[in-house]
Structure formats: C-alpha cells, structure tokens
C-alpha cells in the first residue's frame, strides 16, 4: 500500500447560480487507506534509501518513531554519506521534524488569521488542550497526543482548521473539538473518524482565462512538438506572462536565460510551496489542474533542454500526494513523461515530487533549491540566479504552479489570447484566494487590474476595515485605497486577499503577522533574525499596555532597518504590515500607548523564574 492509490478524486458538481457567480464544488474524498498509510509509514513502499530524498527519509523516520532521535540522525548520515551535523541542521530547521517524541495523535492548529484556532472569540486550541489535559507544545505523558500550532496551512476558505498526523481537518467548531477529544481519548484510528471532516471543498466563484478554458492532457505538448522549441518560446514571450509567485519576472525571458545558460544539465522546478498566509489557490490548482501544471513543466523542459523536473510541494499539502502521483503515472502511461515523449526521439523528461517539512522561507526560490539539495532552506547569495546556477549549480527554471498552468494554456492557445486580457504591464488573469470577513470566501479569477472594491463586492464583504493584499508580506490597505487595482503596476499580489471587518482588532492582526515572521525567519542574517523578534516583542509590549510613543519611533526604525539590510525578501517585507498600519491606521497603536511613565516589563512576572527555582509562591515571593 503506497501513496499513489489512484481513483481518489470524486469530481465535480457544477451549479450555476445567476450570471455573475459560478460555483464549482469539488470534494476531495479521503480513502481511509491513505489515512492508515500516513499513520503507519512502515506500510509505505520505501524505495532504495540511497535514491530517496533526505527530507522523505527523515519524514519516514519521524512517522515510524514519532521523532528523529540522535541514533536516527546517525543512521541517515551514514545512509546518505553526509556529515551528521548536516542531518542535524536539517532536522532543526524544519518545523515538522521533532527531536522529542510527538503524540500518536499529533495535532497542529493553524494560527493564520483566516484558518486559525481563534474563531468567533473562542480559542479552539486551548479548548482541545483543556479537554485532553495537555499543554501546547508538550506531548502528554502517556504519549497519546501532542498539540501545537503551525503557520497557515492553506485552508483559509475552509474555516478554522488543523492538521492531524499531516491530514487536514476543516471547519472546526466547539462541537467538533469535543468530538475530536472523545475520539482521541478512545484511541479511535483516523480511518474511523467521520470522513466528512477531512473534506476540503474548493469553491470557485469567478472564472476567467485559465479556469474556464478546457485543457486536454498532451494537447499543448503536441502543438509544441509540431512548432519546435523556438516558436514555443516565442509564444510564451509574446504572451508577456510574468511569474505568479509575487516577484513577477517575465516567464519567457526566464526560460530563455536558462536555455542559453551552459551546464551539465538543466532543471525545471515547480514552486508549490504556497506558504504566504491567506493563499490557497495552488492547493486548488494542484488538485484540479495538475495535468496542465505538469504539462507546463514538460513544455519548459522542451524549451530549455531539461530532462529532470521537481515539484516542491509544501508539507502542509502532503495529503495531495496520492492525487499528484496518480496524475504523473497517468501521464507516463500516455507517453507525456519519460523517455521519447510523444515519440520524439530526443525528448526525455520526468518529474519527481519533493515534499517540504514546514518552512515558509522555502518558497523563496534559492532557499527552495537548498531544500531540494537536502539542506536547511537558507536563501543563497544572488547573483548568480537560479537560471544560471540553480539546482546542483546547474541552470534551473523555477516557476510558480499558476505560472506553469498559464504557460501550458498559452502554448495551447497563443500569446495574443493571453495578452488581450489584463493591464499594460500585467498580462492575463490572476487567481486570488479570498478569505477572512466575507460571505463568499474561495477562489476568484479576474483579469489583472481588478479593483479591490470589485473583489470585495463579489465576495460579499461588508463593513470592511482593511484588506491585506498579498499576505503578511504584502500591503495593508484601508477604505481610501479600495480603488487600487491588483496588478504589478499598482498592488502586486501572489494571490492572498485577506478581508478584515470593522470588528477586527488590527493590532492583533499585526501581532499575528509579526509572530509569523519571527517564527519563519531562517536565522541567517542579523537584521531579520533579531529584528523580527524585536518587532514581535515591541508589538506585544504595546498590546500589554506597556508601550509609549518612543516605541513607535523604535518600531519605525527597526522596520526600515529590516527593509534595507536583510539578506532576502522575507526580511525586506517582514515589516511592511507594521509600516502600513502606522501610516494608514495610526490609531491601532496610539490607542494602546501609555501617556505616563510605565515599566517596560511586568516586574512580578519577571520573578517567575526565580520563584520556580526556589519553589516558592507565597505572598513574600511576589511584588505588591
């Protein structure tokens, strides 16, 4: 029994409701066998360990022993012929690897503002912890269960969500939490939990170029083989397609640069490490458009001469593996992957899926390559860029899931079909992941240049206070900016669209984002490693009622320092949300400031350590 059981998808129920919105409910139906195999990796057909990816080997050990022990690290170091320090540094880097045993039921609550555990003023994680008598971050003494929180798991349109042994459970509420506590206490295997809990309902509210076009597997490849590599590349160039991952680099140009770069081998990598909180469009695309995505990669290989491709899938989306493997196998059977693709004598290309292990930074392309190479995801020094020095130092194209799907459609249609839509500098359509305080969260595809107000109207958002465009690393805008457009020349976004209603406390949002960056900073450079932590502490201080106007001066200076002095995009953008808040919603911070002298920390709380050491808790051991 392995991960690649076919026939897991039960497609699609179309429902048309009026002319403006069209819904598509797609149910991802969980086969209990998969849950069993995810819980019992020993059942998993492990291939020869020397050919296995380091992250996969560590994942298997983590599954088997519920942690990765020093002995396991030594074993892996020997198997992979690596220094044990490299294995240890990889284990320490990725959030989903643990050096202390997790519970047999290991639960990770998302702490995102949309799919997080704070729902309607209730703390769902605390609720479950109380019911199971457990402290977050610590495994219960009997080893049955452990509960912790994790960064956004991409279920923002599914309500509060968690991962249990790597599988998402969506639409949490107090009632479901009580049932979960009961099932865990009774040690009921996941395979016997209500199947509907594992359902991820993809709802598409708006379709444009990509989501309304039909795509037949192999059709774009056939066309490309007839026209040849030059013309295929020219088509992508003519479309003006730019990367959908946020940076917006011209895709045709990237393919051309890689093609022209000399190397022993060329590689194509699909960045499916969708980690920006509030983004879930790739989750939907991976499930509904995997064929077009793999075809986009194959077309890129055709143009660049690559023979090997990787999909770097975020660990949170591991549950999509069986589906992706079945599509890959199908494509191999159809002659669309492997040796002599579609009978072409010299066209050989295949794709491997590498699953990450909980690290936002691996969405940064050079960190992703480090991770692919079995190392901690620390961004490289750029230049040189991956197009010339990527995977194993060889020319590598890294494209976002949506970009590759767009490329496949463009080659099937033509460049003008795509170029006809959008704005001057932003060709084509953009798929948005809309979530937060709105009636209709889900997937929306618009021509580039749609106004924020239009999206808000379409998603049924009322009394909107602010919108975070492009996730925590993007831009926070208020009412006066709702006429701005989402496109590269105005507000650029990789797809995250978080709506915050009037009732939301924006300081709580800023604190959430600040915590996210402090947690996800890779720790390589001083400004980001220390600065994200200082910003988090500063916001906590203000929220605790200990902030003064000097703290705002500090926060601004720190934010500018991060923007200018950090090593990579994470640090450059980590303070954007704070500067946006200070500029557009100054009340957020000012309302919490103290006008008179206040101690900058809680003196009594600071003595807690001393009380614990001396085992005292009497009145004389406290201040006041």
């Amino acid at each position: 029994m392995g991960f690649s059981s076919p026939g897991l998808l039960r497609h699609c129920l179309f429902k048309v409701t009026g002319h403006r919105l069209r819904f598509c409910y797609c149910y991802f139906d969980f086969n209990p066998a998969i849950l069993v195999s995810m819980m019992n990796p020993c059942l998993h057909n492990r291939s020869d360990p020397t050919h296995e990816h380091l992250l996969h080997r560590l994942y298997a050990l983590q599954q088997q022993f519920l942690h990765i022990s020093p002995e396991s690290m030594h074993q892996v170091a020997t198997e992979f012929n690596l220094p044990v320090s490299q294995v240890a540094s990889v284990v320490a880097f990725y959030s989903f690897f643990h050096t202390q045993p997790c519970g047999r039921f290991h639960i990770l609550f998302s702490n995102c503002t949309s799919c997080g555990y704070l729902e309607d003023g209730q703390n769902l994680m605390q609720m479950l912890c109380q019911q199971l008598q457990i402290t977050p971050g610590k495994t219960r003494k009997d080893g049955l269960v452990s509960i912790d929180e994790t960064s956004c798991i991409g279920m923002c349109d599914q309500g509060a969500s968690l991962l249990i042994n790597g599988v998402p459970v969506t639409r949490l509420n107090p009632d479901k939490i009580a049932q979960i506590a009961h099932l865990i206490t009774a040690e009921t295997a996941l395979a016997y939990w209500p199947k509907a809990w594992f359902t991820v309902n993809d709802v598409v509210h708006k379709r444009n170029l990509l989501l309304s076009a039909h795509f037949l597997a192999g059709s774009a490849l056939q066309k490309a083989l007839i026209h040849g590599t030059d013309e295929t590349l020219a088509t992508v160039m003519q479309s003006d397609l730019c990367g959908r991952g946020g940076a917006g680099f011209n895709t045709g140009e990237k393919w051309q640069l890689c093609r022209e770069a000399s190397g022993n081998a060329h590689y194509v990598v699909c960045n499916a490490d969708e980690g920006e909180p509030g983004t879930f469009k790739d989750r939907f695309l991976l499930r509904s458009q995997a064929d077009a995505m793999f075809e986009g990669m194959t077309l890129c290989a055709f143009v660049t001469g690559a023979e090997k491709g990787f999909v770097y899938l975020r660990g949170e989306y591991r549950y999509l593996l069986p589906h992706l493997h079945s599509v890959l196998n199908q494509r191999r059977q159809q002659g669309l992957l492997g040796q002599h693709i579609l009978g072409h004598a010299t066209f050989n290309f295949d794709i491997e899926i590498v699953v990450g292990a909980g690290a936002y930074i691996c969405g940064e392309e050079s960190a992703l390559i480090e991770s692919l190479e079995g190392k901690p995801g620390i961004p490289r020094i750029r230049p040189p860029f991956p197009v010339t020095h990527g995977y194993l130092g060889q020319p590598t194209v890294i494209n976002n899931v949506e970009t590759l799907i767009a490329a496949a459609h463009i080659i099937l249609q033509d460049g003008a079909w795509f170029r006809a839509i959008g704005t001057e500098k932003s060709a084509g359509s953009k798929i948005l992941s809309v979530s937060g305080d709105c009636r209709l969260p889900g997937i929306y595809e618009y021509p580039f240049g749609v106004s924020i107000q239009q999206v808000l109207d379409d998603c049924g958002a009322q009394n909107v206070q602010a919108v975070q465009i492009g996730g925590p690393s993007g831009t926070l805008v208020g009412r006066t900016d709702f006429n701005c457009r989402t496109c590269f020349e105005d507000l650029s976004t990789a797809g995250s669209f978080l709506v915050f209603g009037q009732q939301r406390n924006l300081l709580a949002i800023n604190r959430n984002f600040a915590r996210f960056f402090a947690h996800e900073s890779c720790g390589f450079c001083t400004p980001c490693r220390v600065g994200t932590q200082l910003l988090k502490n500063n916001l906590d201080k203000i929220a605790d009622g200990r902030g003064t106007s000097q703290d705002l001066v500090e926060i601004k200076q720190l934010s500018h320092l991060l923007q200018r002095h950090s090593h990579c995009g994470l640090g450059h953008t980590a303070a954007n949300h704070i500067l946006d808040s200070l500029q557009r919603f100054p009340q957020t911070f000012e309302a919490n400031l103290k006008q008179h002298f206040t101690a900058s920390f809680d003196l009594d709380k600071a003595l807690e350590n001393a009380r614990q050491i001396t085992q005292r808790n009497d009145a004389a051991a406290h201040l006041d």
């Binding site: 320090s85 540094s89 320490a92 450079c525 001083t526 490693r529 220390v530 002095h565």
Partner: protein, 243 residues
C-alpha cells in the same frame, strides 16, 4: 601580463578592482575600511552579519558578497549607514549574553571593538536572555554558545582551511545555534585541535582556548591599543602576504 583594472567609487574615492573581486575585497585592498564581523580574508564570504551593508544608489547590498562592477558609485562611511551598523551591533549584543567585564575575551573581542568603533554606549534593545548550552567537554577548547554571534567563521574555517568540518549552524530564527559534528555533539569527541583556525577565529568569546585567558593583562589587549578599523585592514594585508 598586466592585470586590467576597472574602478568603483566608494565615498567619492576611485578604487581599482579586478574581475571576481567583491566590493569588500576591492575596498580592503585599497585600504578603505568597511565595517565587518563575518568576513575574513581567504574564507568564502557569507554575508550574514550585514554590518558591511553599503548603498549603491537607492539599493543596499552587503559589500562582502556583492561583486564589484565598473562604475559602481558606493556610499559607505555615511551617518545613516553607521547608525544602521550600530543598531545591528546592538542586536548582536542583546541576542546573546555579552557581559564584557566578566568575559575573558574582553579587549580582544571584535564585537566589543565594533561597539567602540560605532559609538555604542548602551545596549538599546532589551536582552533576550536565551538559554544556550556551554560545551566544556574538550580539554583545551571551550565553546560558550551564549556568546556566539552566528557569524559562521568557525564553520567556514574548519571546512575550508582545517579541512575538518567540525561546526555547523542548526535551527531557525533566534533558535539558530552552533552544533558540533561529532558522534555525541560534544567538542571533546570532534577532531578539533587548539592550533586549528576554527579554534582561533571566533571574533567573540564563544570559542576560547583554555588556560590562557589572562596571559595578556586587560589594558594591553588588541583593542586597548588599536581600533577594529586598523586590525581589519591589517588582517587583509597579512593575508595578502601569505598568498
């Protein structure tokens, strides 16, 4: 054959460079000091401390990892950059436990010297007081992670010069810490020796050779007599003579 020089401009001064040199290489060769802690001539540059950040137009780059290119107009010794460097130095201070009067590296410590150079008179940020392990297992070498600034110099020195690969950095964010590549993770079980560059390159008091801490009295130590600017330029010329 004569080497063809192009030039860059740092704070108005024209400086020659050869292909392959970084801005830092070219500057040091011309005896122009750009503050740095994680750079050491002869080791592969890392770019982690960010003290050497300079401005090229509106862009800020780390001089130690940015290739020199003809015509670059670079700002280095400006008050804005030195203020940022001061903040970065203070960040390194509060992240670890840097209590200079009780540290045997005092007077020889580059972090402390950088503080002197940039006019650091107070810590500014609240200390993190992190729990980091001390490894005193080795008979001759002490590893106090509380003072480590994660500059990666020992990692590179061990790998590139000593050819031993004794150290690595593990963990994310403020949990990043130095680890030892040995069966127990302890220094005693590694093959490090007191003569190794890795055992001597630590800019702070995180890696110390035992039993010689106070051989040179306080007041007669390196940074009691020189600035870090002088030693930084000196390091480079010593390295050049070695080549």
């Amino acid at each position: 054959m004569q080497t063809i020089h192009d030039t860059i401009i740092i704070d108005g001064q024209e400086i020659p460079f050869t292909k392959g040199q970084t801005i830092m290489d070219a500057a040091l060769a011309a005896r122009v000091y750009i503050p740095h802690l994680c750079h050491y001539p002869g080791l592969t540059p890392s770019g982690n401390c960010r003290l050497c950040t300079v401005d090229i137009g509106s862009k800020s780059v780390a001089a130690c990892i940015t290739p020199a290119a003809a015509g670059q107009e670079i700002s280095n010794n400006t008050s804005a950059l030195n203020d940022a460097r001061k903040s970065i130095t203070q960040m390194l201070f509060v992240e670890g436990d840097h209590i200079c009067p009780s540290c045997e590296k005092t007077g020889n410590c580059k972090l402390q010297a950088m503080g002197y150079y940039l006019g650091v008179l107070e810590d500014h940020f609240p200390y993190f007081y992190q729990h980091r392990e001390v490894d005193a297992s080795h008979a001759r070498i002490l590893l106090d992670r509380g003072r480590c600034i994660l500059c990666d110099l020992c990692v590179r020195a061990s790998r590139e010069v000593d050819k031993k690969n004794v150290f690595a950095i593990a963990g994310r964010g403020t949990e990043a810490h130095l680890i030892v590549n040995s069966s127990t993770g302890k220094l005693a079980d590694s093959n490090i020796e007191p003569g190794d560059l890795a055992a001597n390159i630590c800019p702070v008091g995180a890696i110390l050779i035992k039993e010689q801490g106070y051989q040179v009295p306080i007041g007669q130590r390196i940074y009691d007599q020189h600035t870090i600017q002088e030693t930084g330029l000196q390091e480079n010329s010593v390295k050049k003579n070695d080549d």
